[in-house]
């Protein structure tokens, strides 16, 4: 009976017709008001219609009924999950498991609910109970894993009882023959390594069962790492030598281990030096020889030669000339590969220091490039080689002595080289890049640098023209796109930047790591609707993390993949604590504040209703934010000690914890002063302290500081006005009169072709925000004064700032 009646309800929920589902549920509940399953389904429909509070009440009713049927439990679990009340699912299943102690599934759900809710102790107890009742070893390992996680969380405290207990249980399980799978050994390893017991971990892998795990490539890597960490250099040397000579000479991990072990052995026995080095050179030669015979030539042995040189060079045991010869030989062999530049970076730095050496090196490798050839294939490869020469030249030329003219000449040269390469790419697929694209990237970098030195916007426009032209030929080249986005932001054009960004198909996890390229500081460019839409869409990743990642942690337990659990937890928490999420929240609030404040009373209402909890400002919270933004995507040929292209190309300072601090405090101060239930004092003085603290304001612009000061001062004045004593009120009036925007606003020059830039718009936005916040605060002043009935002063007298603001606003609108 129930099935037939419920089917339409289930279908409505599945198909996302929440309204219809609600109607259906209400109809059934009218006849059978105690139908718990229907209540749970109704709760689900309620969450999905955005009525979380009602849903939460209904879920509580379901929970109180202590359901033990699967459909009800499932529906209630889903509803709780979507409200975000994971802890309630624990109670739901805990009750069910108690009522039916022999139901293994309920007990499993109980455990999983605690995993989702990050209750480590609770999950340990549930796992132990599961193990006791159902005798499956899997549950024993769940309990041990739960203990290991508690041990990790308590790292640094001694004694660490959780780790001790976990280790004891594990060693007992091993004795009893319960440990069979590689992942169970991994669990044992993470307990030992977590306590720093590397010798014991090595002994475990040396045992019979440990040796069986060596089938797994990652366990082999851990094995070698343990050898080096416990100074078992002879063993590490042998293992890595064997991998390199017999299996894979392209494995950099093994080469690094090999050299580490080699030099440790030499240090221990200096007399063996000659022999050992000969041996290493012989290994390099023999692996080089087989690499030369293979169909695809691997770089491993050739780069190993450079690595050995580098290590010898650090002890002055090799002359620069020999090493330089090896570098040139490497370039000649692999210069046709785009990664050659990255490969050579650490090595050229070690041998070249003065400008003469550098220019003769560049000349030498340039002579290895042969562009005058009729053979298309050879020519294409030489174009890449030529690009690598330019990149190395750019990388090594750190003197900065280049004049503007030199730079422009270089750009012309690169653009010509790019155009010469174009005809060769006629038959390339649309998805591929033209062979000479990196010439244009490099030319843009040079123009960007000159712009930073001269502040002449013409250089940015020049770069934009080159990049747009080249993008038309390589429509998917994201290197062009990243630069274009940044350059458009510098000239203040958010919609052009947005146009490019929207072709990059940024989604899911990339919302957290890449959106900043477009949105950082873009609030100043005024395209509020477009910006807010971008931010709101990007925020979906955090909801996804809340819903999806806990399920995946649960899956890792179910598949007993113990080696991944800590990693998933770290992943979850990095997204949970993402700095980008806070940045999104702040900009969304700022946009909404401006958009709702067309009349001051709505602004007051907006700030009164603002939830301040998502705007952290105290140093402890700020230091816990995780910066997952990916800054490493742009090609960059500048050396590490010089300002990176990512930095050069950003319109302003990177948003950072101190920026968050000021913005959060502004929003919170506004909230406190607008919400009659709050006292504004403490937060306002925090704001004042922040905007006068040198260590804080060095990380933000002067406009950010001005807005913060302005808000803090006005709120300060308001607080004096609220005082019962006349002298205090007088002081408040004086304070408010001193909050003057006119100087700030008149500092702005008129907009012309040469001043138009992000900086100009940033100043403008700061003025607009001052005016809007000022008018909201003046509304608060009015209300404060009318509350005090017989105040002597007229509100208009006290709000100079605001009237000035309004004039300015009229002026801005005409702009």
């Amino acid at each position: 009976m129930a099935d037939r009646k419920l089917r339409p309800l289930y279908e409505a929920i599945d198909e996302g017709h929440s309204k219809e589902a609600l109607q259906l549920a209400n109809k059934i509940l009218k006849k059978t008001p105690d139908f718990v399953l229907v209540k749970a389904l109704k709760a689900l429909a309620l969450v999905r219609s955005g009525k979380e509070d009602e849903a939460s009440d209904l879920c509580a009713q379901v929970k109180a009924a202590q359901p033990i049927d699967e459909p009800t439990l499932q529906a209630a679990t889903m509803a709780y999950k979507e409200i975000g009340q994971h802890d309630q699912i624990v109670h739901l299943y805990e009750a069910a498991a108690k009522l039916q102690p022999n139901n293994e599934e309920f007990a499993n759900h109980w455990f999983m609910a605690m995993v989702r809710g990050k209750d480590l102790k609770g999950q340990q107890q549930a796992a132990l109970k599961l193990h006791k009742s159902f005798k499956n070893n899997k549950y024993l390992f769940w309990a041990i894993m739960s203990l290991a996680l508690q041990g990790e969380a308590a790292k640094g405290t001694t004694p660490n009882l959780s780790y001790t207990l976990a280790e004891r249980m594990m060693s007992k399980a091993l004795e009893e023959g319960k440990v069979k799978q590689t992942e169970e050994i991994r669990l044992y390893l993470l307990i030992l390594i977590g306590q720093g017991k590397r010798k014991e971990a090595l002994v475990l892998l040396d045992s019979d069962i440990g040796q069986k795990c060596l089938l797994d490539p990652e366990v082999r890597q851990i094995y070698v790492e343990l050898m080096t960490e416990t100074n078992e250099w002879t063993r590490a040397f042998e293992v890595s030598r064997k991998v390199l000579s017999e299996q894979n000479s392209d494995d950099w991990i093994s080469w690094k281990t090999y050299f580490d072990a080699l030099f440790k052995q030499i240090a221990e026995d200096p007399e063996s030096e000659q022999r050992k080095l000969e041996e290493a050179k012989a290994l390099i030669e023999s692996t080089k020889k087989s690499a030369l015979e293979a169909s695809i030539m691997k770089r491993g042995p050739f780069m190993a030669e450079l690595e050995l040189d580098l290590r010898l060079k650090q002890d002055s045991k090799i002359d620069g000339a020999t090493m330089l010869e090896h570098i040139k030989a490497y370039f000649d062999r692999f210069g046709t590969k785009p990664c050659c530049f990255e490969d050579l970076q650490p090595y050229v730095n070690a041998v070249l220091d003065d400008t003469e050496e550098i220019s003769s090196f560049i000349n030498d490798i340039r002579s290895l490039v042969h562009l005058e050839t009729e053979d298309t294939g050879v020519k294409i490869r030489n174009i890449q080689k030529d690009i690598n020469v330019y990149k190395l030249e750019h990388y090594l030329n750190t003197s900065g002595s280049e004049t503007e003219q030199d730079a422009v000449k270089k750009v012309t040269e690169l653009w010509a080289a790019y155009n010469n390469a174009l005809p060769l790419g006629k038959t390339l697929e649309k998805t591929e890049r033209q062979y000479g694209d990196d010439y244009v990237v490099l030319a843009s970098h040079i123009l960007l640098k000159v712009y930073r030195e001269t502040k002449d916007m013409a250089f940015i426009l020049h770069a934009l023209v080159l990049l747009e032209g080249a993008l038309a030929k390589s429509v998917y080249n994201f290197q062009f796109k990243m630069l274009l986005i940044r350059l458009y932001l510098i000239i203040g054009s958010f919609d052009q930047a947005h146009r490019i960004f929207s072709t990059m198909d940024v989604k899911h996890i990339q919302f957290d790591t890449l959106t900043h390229y477009l949105t950082d500081g873009s609030m100043s460019l005024g395209q509020f609707d477009l910006l807010a839409e971008t931010l709101s869409v990007a925020c979906s990743i955090y909801k996804a993390n809340e819903i999806e990642t806990p399920e995946m942690i649960v899956k890792a337990y179910q598949y007993t993949t113990f080696s991944k659990i800590q990693e998933f937890i770290e992943f979850r928490s990095r997204l949970d604590q993402s700095i980008q999420h806070t940045l999104f929240n702040i900009d969304l609030a700022r946009v909404e504040a401006l958009q709702t404040s067309f009349a001051a009373k709505y602004g007051v209402q907006f700030f009164a209703e603002l939830d301040p909890s998502v705007y952290p400002y105290d140093d402890d919270k700020l230091s816990k934010l995780s910066d997952n933004r990916d800054y490493g995507v742009m090609t960059d040929c500048t050396p590490k000690e010089v300002t990176s292209i990512e930095e050069l190309s950003r319109p302003s300072k990177r948003t950072n914890p101190n920026w968050i601090k000021i913005q959060s405090l502004i929003l919170r101060t506004m909230h406190n002063v607008c919400d009659s239930k709050c006292e504004g004092l403490e937060i306002a003085s925090e704001l004042k302290a922040a905007v006068t603290n040198e260590a804080v304001i060095k990380d933000v612009t002067e406009q950010d500081v001005f807005l913060g000061r302005f808000v803090a001062d006005v709120v300060d004045g308001i607080n004096y006005l609220k005082n019962a004593e006349a002298s205090q009120q007088q002081k408040g009036i004086e304070l408010l009169n001193s909050c003057n925007l006119s100087a700030f606003i008149s500092s702005q020059k008129a907009m012309t072709d040469s001043t138009i830039s992000w900086n100009y718009f940033h100043q403008t936005l700061a003025e607009v925000e001052c005016v809007v916040y000022g008018s909201i605060l003046s509304e608060v002043i009015k209300r404060t004064l009318s509350l005090g009935k017989k105040k002597k002063s007229d509100p208009a007298e006290t709000t100079d700032a605001v009237s000035i603001g309004n004039e300015a606003r009229a002026a801005k609108i005409s702009v």
Binding site: P217, E342, K507, E548, A556, F571
Partner: protein
């Protein structure tokens, strides 16, 4: 020359140099984490000496009986790191694990019939076409896919592959019955 290791969940924060390429799809969190939770040893990443992500391979083990096999779900290499033989090393590892850890009969993968470069590369790695799947790649323009296979040691008689698989046309909905 590179470092080949297991893919970590936190690599998702820094794989953009590969994933911004137009031919590499970015999926939701569950997609990657599900593979990591279930087949952690079939999901590997290759990085440069300096730690930049060059490419990665993700795979799974599935099927029953003689159809128990390793499957390459995705293999991708960033634009700067192509033509270095990286795919070769990643496929080797996936095949090794499929053979030794999972005791699979073969490894298979799907490729667009138009992608001659990739097909040629897989042939060089020892794969041959087993069948052609009609409209396997659905999209604005539908395209057939080749199911390519390489037998592993367990398949001594090479029963899991066949000649002229290019001519064996199946519909996507029939794939499971063939497994």
């Amino acid at each position: 020359m590179s470092q080949l290791r297991r893919f970590k969940a936190t690599d998702l924060f820094s794989f953009n140099n590969v994933n911004l390429d137009v031919l590499t799809e970015t999926y939701n969190i569950s997609f990657y984490l599900q593979y990591l939770a279930r087949w952690p040893d079939l999901f590997s990443v290759q990085t440069t000496a300096q730690g930049n992500v060059m490419g990665y391979v993700m795979g799974k083990a599935e099927g029953t009986g003689k159809n128990w096999h390793g499957h390459v779900t995705a293999i991708t290499v960033g634009p700067e790191y192509r033509r270095l033989g990286l795919a070769d090393g990643m496929m080797d590892l996936l095949e090794e694990v499929s053979e030794k850890t999972y005791d699979a009969w073969f490894v298979d993968l799907y490729v667009r019939v138009s992608n001659a470069v990739a097909i040629g590369m897989y042939r060089k790695f020892g794969y041959s076409v087993y069948r052609r799947v009609k409209n396997y790649y659905a999209g604005t323009i539908d395209e057939d896919g080749y199911d390519m296979r390489k037998p592993l040691k367990r398949d001594k008689k090479r029963e899991t592959i066949r000649e002229n698989g290019e001519n064996v046309l199946v519909n996507p909905e029939d794939l499971d019955s063939w497994r």
